[in-house]
């Protein structure tokens, strides 16, 4: 085994070792903190959340870039497990970055471990000593690695997923399974948050609230790869409004179906459209009384078109900027500490819609 501590720059200390063990990495983390304290007694690693990321080693850089973009919602300690199929032994890097702000210093800890595929089924034995005890632990495996996530089920309380998948049904089923033992934060769900907020706001004025019982059709326009956020959006409406969603059938490029509401069926249409951003591109909700509201991506926000009973249309822009994928991931990290009770019922309805 070979190990070394070097000061990479004034604000970051790095430890690395080849053919190492979790115990040695744990000791190195303590050593890094002690070294920091010697330099400045004010280094105070207040901690809230562990993030364990499992990636294909080949695409590690891409994921690291995404993690750099999460902004203010960063985890306290990140443990990145890079999977190299043929690897038999562990190599590791540990670093403590310190941001000097005023007289207190903010410490962020990061551990990278190169693991082999054969480590994945027992990844908990490698990761457990590396996370800060008693903190919430969030697991994210952007390249799949279901076996590794399952190995961490006992240890982690929260899993970050993205149901943006070629096989939506399988993706949503997998989430249903994870929900049995963990709290799930779904990036696809978070992509629909601004849309849910806007639809909620559109029906919030008392004069419009009554129309919620009167909805006759919901059309969701989505990027081709984003059936899941579209289904989750409709699932959310269905669960909040007491509808019973039915299965969707393919008609051309669209997925169409119905949901049963008290006042009759609600026509559901999911249509792929050409938009650059992952997630939804637009939403239209129509009522039996002939009114409708449409929201579509536009310059500087969402374009809202509200049609009255008499056919008169009014167009507005709801101001807002895209959060970007970095912002979505940051929101996912933050959501790990919250509990959204509306996701599970929405998922149940969405799963019914996409089940074959």
């Amino acid at each position: 085994m070979a190990a070394a501590v070097t000061i990479a720059e004034e604000s970051e200390e790095v430890w690395s070792a080849q053919d190492t063990t979790p115990g040695e990495i744990e000791r190195a983390l303590l050593e890094l903190l002690a070294t920091r304290h010697k330099q400045s007694g004010a280094v105070a690693p207040a901690r809230v959340l562990n993030l364990v990321v499992i990636v294909d080693r080949r695409y590690r850089g891409e994921v690291e870039n995404r993690l750099l973009q999460v902004g203010r919602f960063h985890p306290s300690r990140t443990v990145l497990c890079a999977v190299d199929h043929r690897r038999r032994k562990l190599d590791a890097w540990a670093s403590m970055a310190v941001e000097l702000e005023g007289e207190l210093s903010i410490a962020r800890e990061r551990v990278e471990v190169d693991v082999g595929e054969h480590h994945l089924s027992k990844l908990d034995t490698i990761v457990a000593p590396l996370v800060v005890p008693d903190l919430a632990t969030l697991v994210w495996a952007p390249h799949g690695h279901a076996e590794a996530v399952d190995a961490l089920r006992e240890m982690a309380q929260i899993v970050l997923v993205d149901t943006l998948d070629d096989d939506v049904e399988l993706a949503l089923q997998r989430v249903g399974s994870l929900l049995e033992s963990m709290y799930v934060v779904d990036l696809a769900w978070l992509r629909s948050t601004p849309w849910r907020e806007r639809v909620a706001a559109a029906f919030d004025p008392p004069q419009h609230r009554a129309e919620l019982r009167n909805i006759s059709a919901v059309s969701v326009r989505h990027r081709a790869d984003s059936v899941a956020p579209a289904a989750l959006f409709v699932g959310w409406l269905a669960s909040r409004l007491g509808w019973r969603a039915g299965g969707l059938l393919r008609r051309g490029d669209d997925l169409v179906g119905k949901a049963k509401a008290r006042r009759g069926d609600v026509q559901v249409t999911l249509t792929p459209v050409d938009v650059t951003t992952k997630g939804l591109g637009g939403v239209t909700i129509e009522t039996h009384s002939g009114t409708s509201i449409s929201l579509d991506r536009s310059t500087g926000g969402l374009r809202e078109v509200r049609k009255a009973k008499d056919g008169a249309c009014r167009e507005l822009t709801v101001l807002g900027a895209s959060r970007g994928e970095g912002g979505i991931l940051g929101e996912g990290v933050r959501q790990a500490l919250l509990r959204d009770r509306t996701y599970r019922p929405a998922l149940g309805q969405a799963l019914t819609m996409v089940s074959r």
Binding site: A46, R196, R198, R209, R306, L316, V318, L319
Partner: protein, 514 residues
Amino acid sequence: MSPESAQALAQQDNPLTEGLERLPVPPTALVIFGATGDLAKRKLLPALYNLAHEGALPERFALIGISRSASSDDEFRDIARESITSFSRRPPDKDVLEALLGRMRYLGFSFDDADGYPQLAEALEAADEEAGQPLNRCYYLSTAPEFFGLIPQRLEAARLHRHEKVDVRLIVEKPFGTDLESARHLQSTISKAFRESQIYRIDHYLGKETVQNMLAFRFANYMFEPVWNRNFIDHVQITAAEEIGIGTRAGYYERAGALRDLVQNHMLQLLTLLCMEPPVSFEADKVRDEKVKVLQAITPFSEAQVSERTARAQYTNGVVAGEDVPGYAQEDGVPDDSRTETYAALRLEVTNWRWAGVPICLRTGKRLARKLTEIAVQLKPVPHMAFREEGSVGVVPNQLVITLQPDEGVSLKLGAKIPGSKMLIRPVTMEFHYGTSFLSQSPEAYERLIIDAMRGEATLFTRNDEVDAQWSIIDPILAAWGRGEATKGEYEAGSQGPKEADGLLGPGRRWRRL
């Protein structure tokens, strides 16, 4: 759907808002009086941009800026663009910024000019027309304080203070009065036009994350409650120190002084949050009821007590951050014979069951050694010093410090054994820093306060009886100081403050070092 069932559903909660963090904000026209002033440029317009960026503004939103200077809409938009670009906490997105600017209109008239208000009425009607429905009105008084009474009168005269279909709110910046009498007069003037439920008095400290965190700290952690009383707490120090001078605010500061500028509002608000009983719920009036009880439990000083329990001083020339700086009397715009205090300290007592006998000491000043806002709660010493030994610092009382500026966090000073064969004790500090977790770039206080006012959520605004109680505490001090009854001391710029303040805490106690 029958009209009855439609009405019933309209009265129910909106089922779509469950689980959403950002609740709908009613369609609103925000009218900023003083729209080209310093506060608007540095805080309000950037805050509005950030709200727009995050999609937090309502889809129907109009901003009408009013100032005395004659400018066009486009000139005002240029001012807004520049201030947002300069002071926003995030780089503006060009499309969102331009779309927001497109919602802005400008009216140039003097606030006392009754002829200007019909123009405002027209602009509001035009905004309603454009939105296709009447918009709530929020009038934000970001003006010099002398207009706080006048503008509501003019709004009433123009029948803009009420609307049969929408809510009309008045947001009033600080200071709310300059003493008890003027505050009551101002309240009386405003309340002729606006009901209390329409009035949102801003104390921007209440919009800060850390100030709100004080409520979480106290009421979400059971471990502190047993010691949070006179049996365990020796005294409390609340500090709001600044290293900067008065800058270009001589005109305002010369009239206000440190006591009015920070103690009457921000520092007494911090005191109430520290000392209040747990509210039944976090509804606006439930919280404010408890805060008022604290203020009412502070007995205003007699004339003799002002001399014993307060200190005031003015800074002289000195050195700050290695640079020579002038004294207050030498600052631009300050008269040579100014008696205005740039430092104020007082020892208050909350005479209720929980706090009786606990000195609660407040100090604030300009040109002190450093910028620092904190609350330090010092617990009583242990009853028996079993560990006192030569060669150690010894056991010092526990101290809990809640820091608001420049870093937001909480630290707890504990006694710990020094490694070695002897039982030697020294204090160590356990620190929690909010920035290390999730709040390294907190939203500006004004973002939260503006959106709360638009939503009619009043918890973080000061109610009239709070203002009244605050001035009731401050008024006797102002009166006595006005009569020259407390010694006016001096302190060197860049120092810890005047020596006159040292004795306020009582025997065996000293101010924490800045």
